[in-house]
Symmetry: C2
Subunit: 135 residues, 2 copies
């Protein structure tokens, strides 16, 4: 099938399918006129990529996952290690954002939100407090 059909079948945009090829996540065949041709197995690979991306794996991780998926002699330990690393990274980002949310909520809670200029939010930022309030 052509790229358009593969895009519909996999839920991955034509643009991204070409990008994944560029970074060697898959290598579709070509017809004589240069058109990419995709097998059902290619579509399966594309769907695998989509699923991994929806779980937040960065593309290099997806590449590793793909290699593991296609390696019948893989160790589940390798998959788990990759996953645990990703979970750790995700938790770190969530923690960062939760810290921001906490500070922001406190500040917003103290702000009257009326027509007057006095604002603890602006004041805190101007005092350079956020980000150094822990220390």
């Amino acid at each position: 099938m052509n790229i358009g059909e593969a895009a519909k079948a996999s839920g991955i945009s034509r643009k991204m399918i070409r990008y994944y090829e560029e970074i060697a996540l898959l290598e579709p065949g070509r017809t004589a006129n240069g058109y990419r041709v995709y097998t059902p197995q290619d579509v399966h690979t594309l769907r695998f990529i989509g699923a991994a991306r929806r779980l937040g794996f960065p593309v290099p991780d997806v590449k590793a996952l793909l290699a593991l998926w296609q390696d019948r002699s893989r160790s589940s330990a390798d998959v788990k290690r990759l996953t645990d690393g990703h979970i750790t990274a995700l938790r770190a980002r969530v923690a960062e954002m939760n810290a921001m949310i906490g500070t922001l909520e406190t500040l917003a809670g103290a702000c009257d939100g009326d027509e007057r200029p006095d604002c603890p939010i602006i004041n805190a930022i101007a005092a350079h407090e956020p980000g150094s309030q822990r220390g």
Copy 2:
């Protein structure tokens, strides 16, 4: 003072100071030879920008915050509205990531992580389960 000194005084890199100028967050003066010159007030602005960025405000929001900060007739309601919008965006991203983490933890918990190839994580991704129903 020159850009290097302003960078040290504000904690913002030279690169980013030039970038913030490019997107019109501040406009330093110039000496006859073309060197940028920064006043203590400019450094204050730079520190304000850094503080807002550390709270996760995207640069366009920082620009708005800066305008509000410099507007003595501002309404604190405007500041609060901006902040609330940012909190909402942050919470949405955290919720997304927490959903990923939840799925990932369940999968990783079911994976033996040994030398055998059987792996619920790979299986789930290959089944296109995560993130959406099967298709």
